[in-house]
């Protein structure tokens, strides 16, 4: 669906960038909500119930809005790059179906638990479904991204396993899934240190968890870089050889060190910025390594771009929608996440 006019390519690249931004927002916000589910499962120690209550309060008002970033990314992908969407839908069918099951179970179980005010066995079962689904969903999301990066998301050929399982059941893709899980857990723990407010022991619980998740993320990232040499040569070459590789790695390492240092110093608001910067840099590094390919090895941004008129209208729609969306989002987070709002958490 390439368009003849030369102006279409830069706009398509901009829209691909918007999709990456939407995915970044999803990771930073929706990802942290999944991470909250991980810490719900791993809640322990004398403050176990307080940990769970803090997680529920933090996620409750915002998880649905956070979730829409994923839908926005999907809609923009099929509108602007329909062939890329179709390819992903065919070849990654299996992990995406499992991802959807995870999304459905996580969202509904969380809501059912929140609204089931009786403290009984049924409510605990919803909690188990919520936290279990919060673990499998990031794994599958990361595995799908990892599969894309390996360049194996090609038109199906051969038997079922060769066509629909092997593209994503690779060490690199599964390591990417584990990395996504660890990073989401890290983000959630860092955010929760802020949410804990004046409750210092509670904040310390999540401080320890944040540091643990950061170390786990670093180990997994190092491991996936090792398996990338054979499993994702394209990604490996870009991450080691290209001219932006050094600044990217420097930035990510600086963000990781800053996150660690601020956590140790209990400067939680600064740690939140550093954590978000770290995850953003990793996602943008993935995008930059693939550029200009959307689905390596063959589907590029230019080759899969919708006709120029569609792209122009989507761009206009994004501006118009943003004019409503951004103030609304700012309002939402001011109501529930500003310093003043968190000090006065009503416990009616």
């Amino acid at each position: 669906m390439a368009d003849a006019s030369p102006a279409a390519v830069p706009l398509a690249a901009v829209l691909a960038g918007v999709i990456l931004l939407a995915l970044t927002a999803y990771a930073l916000l929706g990802g942290a909500d999944f991470g909250g589910g991980v810490w719900d499962l791993l809640a322990s120690g004398p403050r176990r119930d307080r940990q769970r209550a803090l997680i529920a309060d933090a996620i409750g008002p915002i998880w649905e809005a956070n979730h829409v970033w994923l839908i926005l990314a999907v809609v923009l992908l099929f509108t602007c790059f329909p062939d890329a969407f179709a390819r992903v839908g065919v070849t990654l069918h299996v992990p995406l179906v499992l991802l959807l099951v995870g999304i459905v179970l996580r969202g509904s179980a969380f809501t059912f638990r929140s609204y089931d005010s009786r403290r009984d066995a049924v409510q605990r079962r919803w909690g188990a479904v919520f936290s279990g689904a919060s673990i499998i969903t990031p794994l599958l999301l990361g595995a799908a991204v990892g599969a894309l990066a390996t360049g194996r998301v090609v038109p199906p050929a051969g038997g079922f396993v060769a066509a629909y399982v092997r593209p994503w059941a690779t060490p690199f893709a599964l390591a990417t899934g584990a990395l996504a899980l660890a990073l989401f857990a890290f983000l959630a723990a860092v955010y929760l240190t802020v949410e804990a407010g004046d409750e210092r022991p509670l904040a310390d619980d999540f401080r320890r968890r944040a540091i643990g998740a950061l170390v786990a993320s670093a180990v997994i990232a190092g491991g996936s870089l090792l398996v990338a040499r054979r499993g994702a040569p394209l990604m490996h070459a870009a991450l080691t050889g290209s001219r932006w590789a050094l600044p990217l790695h420097t930035g990510a390492i600086a963000a990781a060190i800053a996150a660690l240092a601020t956590l140790l110093l209990r400067r939680y608001r600064a740690a939140r910025v550093a954590a978000a910067a770290l995850v953003s840099l990793i996602i943008w590094g993935w995008g930059a390594a693939q550029y200009p390919l959307l689905v390596p090895p063959d589907l590029s941004i230019a080759a899969t771009a919708a006709p120029a008129s569609t792209l122009r209208f989507v761009a206009l729609g994004l501006v118009a929608g943003g004019l409503i969306l951004i103030p609304s989002l700012i309002y939402l987070f001011r109501v529930f996440k500003s310093e003043r709002a968190m000090r006065s958490t009503p416990k009616a």
Partner: protein, 443 residues
């Protein structure tokens, strides 16, 4: 089961499940806002209790709607990749707009549900209004995308691919107006009568309960006027379908032969082999009158469509009868209720009327499911009328029956959980045992 049939089954099941929650997401916010507005105006605490309880129900149902809607957005590519590769750039516009509307809905629902003690009463009510408006808007945008599949417009093709797009013409495709109008009204009918029906049922058991009396009145204020105007919107739809989608009209009316002064066939079992309808009641000239407002107008029958391009006539005809029958019941009931309101007699003092409303609880939703069956099955064998066949759009991945069964089981489980939760948390009469009424800040 063939892969195509499994994919169609999964899509139908996913849509049929999601539509219930999508409709509730349009109708319930209006109800909770009305209740809160009455509370702010009158200071009557019963209305506050009502707004809070309805908000809790909305929260549970909206969450299921949000996740089942996500499933649908992925299923477009998982099940129909060739349809999306073709149509994505053309119908992406309404989907993108829907994305923003849904975003707004989710944001302000968060503010509404968790913000009772955090924002001013005026801001809280406005947040509810924003939920109601954006919920309606997102429904309108999605139905616009669907109506394009019925009456595709706004693009040029070459070599089986879309080469240029006019997104505004695609958005304002010929079927868009009547389909969105009909669906939006249906959402208020379905939700209004479902809520009214539940409270009518509870009033039969607790006739003096002030909570249920006010709830019944508010729900009927939304549902009944919508049910009365719905037949007018149906008339607009029927005449448009007669002109724009004659094969669908012929199937839903089970009209096999092109006829001048065509009769209307009510009920009956169409037999596609003999091209007759068994046991149907025929009203002379009825179809020509309804479809063209002209007793002698020619109505095109299925004989003008190649046999292999016929939709499944029996299913479409039966679904249409169900939709019209249920809609008629709700419209007539609404007229009776309106007459009673005019006489200033409360509905709750007539047990017969309460029973009639209680029976109506699921009827609006059944009519909506039947109506979508008419729209979607009546378009077959096309996924985009005249452009792309459903069988050519389906994924090449074999074994779709597995995800079909998986999602069916998942949704059955969710349905049971939702019904049970609503029963446990929402329906129990207030004042009896309500540990949660003070915990609204936590939802």
């Amino acid at each position: 089961m063939s892969n195509l049939l499994a994919a169609r089954g999964q899509m139908a099941m996913s849509l049929g499940f999601h539509i219930v929650f999508a409709v509730v997401g349009i109708g319930m916010p209006l109800l909770m806002v009305l209740a809160e507005w009455r509370w702010q105006r009158t200071g009557d605490a019963v209305y506050l209790d009502l707004a809070r309880r309805w908000a809790r129900g909305t929260a549970i149902l909206f969450a299921v709607g949000a996740v089942s809607g996500t499933v649908l957005s992925f299923e477009l590519g998982l099940l129909w990749p060739r349809f999306m590769a073709f149509a994505g750039p053309v119908i992406g516009m309404p989907f993108s707009l829907e994305g923003f509307a849904f975003f707004t809905e989710a944001i302000f629902l968060g503010v509404y549900l968790y913000g009772w003690n955090r924002v001013s009463p005026g801001a809280h009510l406005l947040a509810g209004v924003a939920v109601a408006v954006s919920g309606a808007a997102s429904g309108v945008f999605v139905v616009m995308a669907n109506s394009w599949m019925n009456t595709p417009a706004g693009f040029e093709m070459a070599g089986g691919r879309v080469i240029s797009v006019d997104p505004l013409r695609a958005l304002a495709n010929p079927a868009a107006f009547q389909q969105t109008l009909h669906m939006l009204i249906a959402a208020y009918v379905g939700t209004g009568f479902a809520v009214a029906g539940i409270h009518a049922w509870l009033l039969l058991r607790h006739p003096k309960n002030a909570f249920h009396r006010r709830a019944l009145t508010l729900a009927l204020l939304v549902g009944a006027p919508a049910a009365v105007i719905q037949p007018l919107s149906g008339d607009i739809s029927a005449r448009a379908v007669a002109r724009q989608q004659p094969a669908k009209l012929a199937a839903l009316e089970a009209l096999f032969e092109t006829t001048r002064g065509a009769p209307l066939t009510i009920g009956g079992i169409p037999d596609v082999d003999t091209r007759t309808v068994h046991f149907g009641v025929r009203i002379p000239y009825g179809l020509s009158l309804l479809a063209f407002h002209d007793l002698h107008a020619e109505v095109r029958g299925l004989d003008q469509v190649p046999r292999h391009d016929w939709p499944p006539v029996a299913v479409v005809h039966a679904a249409f009868q169900v939709m019209v029958g249920l809609g008629t019941y709700l419209a007539l009931l609404s007229l009776v209720l309106g007459w009673r309101a005019w006489q200033r007699k409360p509905v709750a003092s007539s047990r017969t009327l309460l029973r009639a409303v209680a029976i109506a609880t699921p009827l609006g939703f059944l009519a909506i499911e039947a109506g979508w069956t008419v729209t979607e099955v009546g378009r077959q064998p096309w996924i985009i009328t005249g452009i792309l066949r459903t069988r050519d759009a389906v994924t090449p991945m074999p074994g779709i029956v597995v995800p079909f069964v998986l999602f069916t089981l998942l949704y059955i489980g969710l349905s049971v959980a939702v019904i049970w939760l609503l029963y446990r948390q929402i329906i129990r009469a207030p004042g009896t045992n309500d540990p949660a009424s003070s915990g609204v800040a936590h939802g």
